[in-house]
């Protein structure tokens, strides 16, 4: 029997390449652990790089579905690629399960029965950070994010759950790499806490410069998940120690599924696990749970039902789908502390939000 082909459209080139790489490796790991199968069905993961271009993502999807007859696709990292690709996939009757991107338009009015998100809805990331700042007892916060929609959403999300006073609000430039001016403004405002959202390299630069400005010990910082993944911590080094982070998954989560995952990852790859890796792994486990019930994709409706049931052990613990087929799960507060080798590591401190969904579920009419 030919293995079942699963199409993975992901971003492997450019600065954000490591995101796609970890998602892919998480999925491959799950498949390998089951001996090339998911849910007892032999599978083959076909991976292609979209180069972070919506048009390319669409092209790859087209090929996967029409030429290779794939009915199950996954892998997209970025919202704009998802926007150009996902509607076409679901219209074609195929199932798309997102291991990362969770844009609001697809969570709300454009939601679709064939579209699932395993990771999170984008806004929830920052709502968790707001909840953390509140939980930690901070009364006023200085908030910063790049001047684009995701940045504005981040700040809105943070404010929604924080509820305290805003000591200052700065939108940085989209491609700004030098934050000295912002550091001076933060120092002058002297807030109780700083929240900032800068994805990827910008976040690394921000943290380094925050430390060099001597602010790290003075003004605490609360961050949402993308700013503190293992790769970012590794690149920033000691400067990250003392930061409050939030996450829906962390390496030290105490559950059987996670222990198995962490052990296997360390053996296979030996590099730090990012939460992207965990999402890839969860996605594969979710698929496995559905395939175990249906034995294949011949009956798409049955498969869709099986996915919706989310009958699998997530490495993040509790997991179920909300009405818009986005996750309802828990969010945690983490501390960044010095590890045994002096390098920063994230330690889970407490649960912040329990069974938390997203704000767009109401707009979804399925």
């Amino acid at each position: 029997q030919d293995p079942l082909k699963i199409g993975m459209i992901t971003t492997l080139s450019g600065p954000a390449g490591y995101l796609g790489q970890d998602i892919r490796d998480g999925m491959l790991l799950a498949i390998e652990m089951e001996g090339g199968k998911l849910g007892g069905v032999p599978v083959e993961l076909v991976v292609e790089d979209d180069g972070l271009k919506p048009g390319n993502g669409r092209q790859i999807a087209e090929k996967f579905m029409n030429d290779d007859g794939m009915k199950l696709l996954t892998g997209i990292v970025f919202s704009n690629v998802a926007g150009a690709t996902v509607p076409d996939i679901v219209d074609n009757g195929a199932i798309y399960i997102s291991p990362n991107a969770g844009p609001s338009n697809l969570a709300g009015s454009e939601c679709h029965p064939n579209y699932f998100v395993v990771s999170w809805q984008n806004d929830a990331l920052h709502e968790a950070a707001g909840a953390a700042a509140k939980q930690l007892g901070f009364k006023n916060a200085f908030v910063l994010a790049p001047n684009y929609q995701a940045g504005k959403d981040a700040i809105t999300g943070f404010k929604r759950t924080f509820g305290g006073e805003i000591a200052g609000e700065i939108y940085t430039q989209l491609d700004q790499t030098d934050f000295a001016s912002e550091m001076a403004q933060i120092r002058a405002a002297n807030p109780e806490v700083v929240f900032q959202f800068h994805p990827g390299g910008l976040g690394i630069a921000f943290l380094k410069q925050y430390a060099q400005a001597g602010l790290i010990g003075q003004i605490p910082m609360v961050l949402s998940e993308p700013s503190t993944d293992a790769v970012v911590l590794g690149a920033v080094g000691e400067a990250a120690i003392g930061i409050h982070a939030t996450a829906h998954w962390n390496r030290d989560f105490d559950n059987a599924a996670n222990a198995e995952f962490v052990k296997a990852w360390d053996e296979k790859y030996g590099r730090p696990i990012t939460y992207y890796g965990s999402q890839g792994y969860d996605t594969a486990r979710l698929i496995a749970s559905a395939l175990a019930k249906t034995g294949g994709l011949d009956d798409i409706d049955a498969f869709r039902e099986a996915v919706r049931a989310a009958d699998f052990e997530s490495v993040r613990g509790d997991f179920k789908f909300g009405p818009n087929q986005h996750p309802v799960h828990d969010w945690y507060l983490l501390d960044i502390v010095a590890g045994p080798d002096g390098k920063p590591m994230a330690v889970t401190k407490e649960k912040l939000l329990d069974d938390y969904g997203d704000a767009y579920a109401d707009q979804c009419k399925m």
């Binding site: 390319n56 669409r58 790859i60």
Partner: protein, 326 residues
């Protein structure tokens, strides 16, 4: 001879959906559609870059505008609320394409009017600057999805055609592309085209002959922007999606790469360039995750080896073939 070649090419392209269907390679059709669309955009850019000597590094702006016109009109069509409270949305291609071309032309007129006061490298950078400003503008337009872009649920309608059918959409794009290239050929060989080419070679000389270069350059810039807008509108219809990504400077760069790869200042060069670039990107990416390395090396060999892009290479090879045949 040339006419015959063109006719054969068009016939072959028209037959493509049957071929891909027979081979079970439907994705090739999508690729071909994208190539045609990018071919239009690249050829538009080439009109000012190759024939007019104006190196615009911001042409993706007009491409993006074209896409957004389709997207915004569709959004308002879907929601039923008129744009600015007066302009009703629409999903009719017979309306959206002309509007996209018009709006792109207006933007090109404004940007061109300012940019053309400079020349050379400064022109490259100032067109880039305006495109980036537009990019930032659209990135922050929450009403239209910001960074995430607009999802266009349905391809624009054309009376009597099933636009959901991919082959139909391909034929529509092909028809427009053929008309576009015929028009472009006329334009290049027109009186205006000759003046533009003269201005590229020597603006000072043309002024001495009595040509106020600025006006002509602006007209060319606007025409070129309109072509890019048309391509953008088609792309939005094909992808059913428009996002700021369409007007990012890397997209401008990509269009330029297509032009150079195919052959600057040749009619079909940009089309060939778009074809080769997209095919390389697509096939290499499915071959290895390290495809950019291969793409880089291939492009390097092409630019060092061909002198004048693929078009020049083909011309030299065919001359060689003819020479050898005698």
């Amino acid at each position: 001879m040339r006419v015959l070649g063109f006719a054969v090419l068009v016939a072959a392209l028209a037959a493509l959906p049957f071929v891909t269907d027979a081979l079970g390679q439907a994705a090739w059709l999508a690729l071909a559609t994208r190539i045609l669309i990018y071919g239009i955009a690249a050829a538009s850019l080439n009109f000012i870059l190759g024939y007019g000597g104006m190196v615009s590094f911001g042409h993706a702006a007009f491409f993006g505008i074209g896409g957004y016109v389709v997207g915004i009109l569709f959004t308002h069509h879907a929601s039923g609320e008129p744009l600015f409270g007066v302009i009703p949305g629409t999903d009719q291609m017979l309306v959206t394409l002309p509007v996209a071309i018009l709006v792109a032309g207006l933007f090109a007129a404004a940007i061109g009017a300012l940019s053309l006061r400079t020349g050379g490298v400064q022109f490259i950078m100032i067109t880039l600057a305006f495109a980036q400003m537009l990019f930032f503008l659209f990135v922050s337009l929450k009403a239209y999805g910001g960074e995430d872009g607009i999802i266009i649920r349905r391809t624009n309608a054309l009376p009597g055609l099933n636009m959901r059918d991919k082959a139909t959409l391909y034929w529509v794009v092909l028809t427009i592309a053929v008309l576009f290239f015929l028009g472009l050929r006329r334009l290049i060989n027109s009186s205006f085209g000759a003046v533009i080419s003269g201005i590229r070679q020597n603006e000072r000389r043309m002024a001495a002959l009595g040509i106020p270069a600025y006006r002509y350059k602006l007209a060319a810039f606007v025409l070129s922007g309109m072509g890019a807008g048309l391509a953008g509108a088609l792309m939005a219809n094909f992808l059913r999606f428009a996002s700021p990504d369409m007007m990012h400077w890397t997209k401008s760069g990509e269009l330029m790469i297509m032009v150079i790869l195919g052959g600057v200042g040749t009619l079909f060069g940009p089309f060939l360039g778009a074809g080769v670039f997209l095919m390389l990107e697509t096939f290499l990416a499915s071959w290895s995750e390290h495809w950019p390395l291969a793409l880089g090396l291939i492009l390097l060999v092409v630019v060092l080896g061909t002198r004048g892009g693929i078009e020049a290479l083909i011309r030299r090879l065919s001359a060689l073939g003819r020479g050898g045949g005698q």
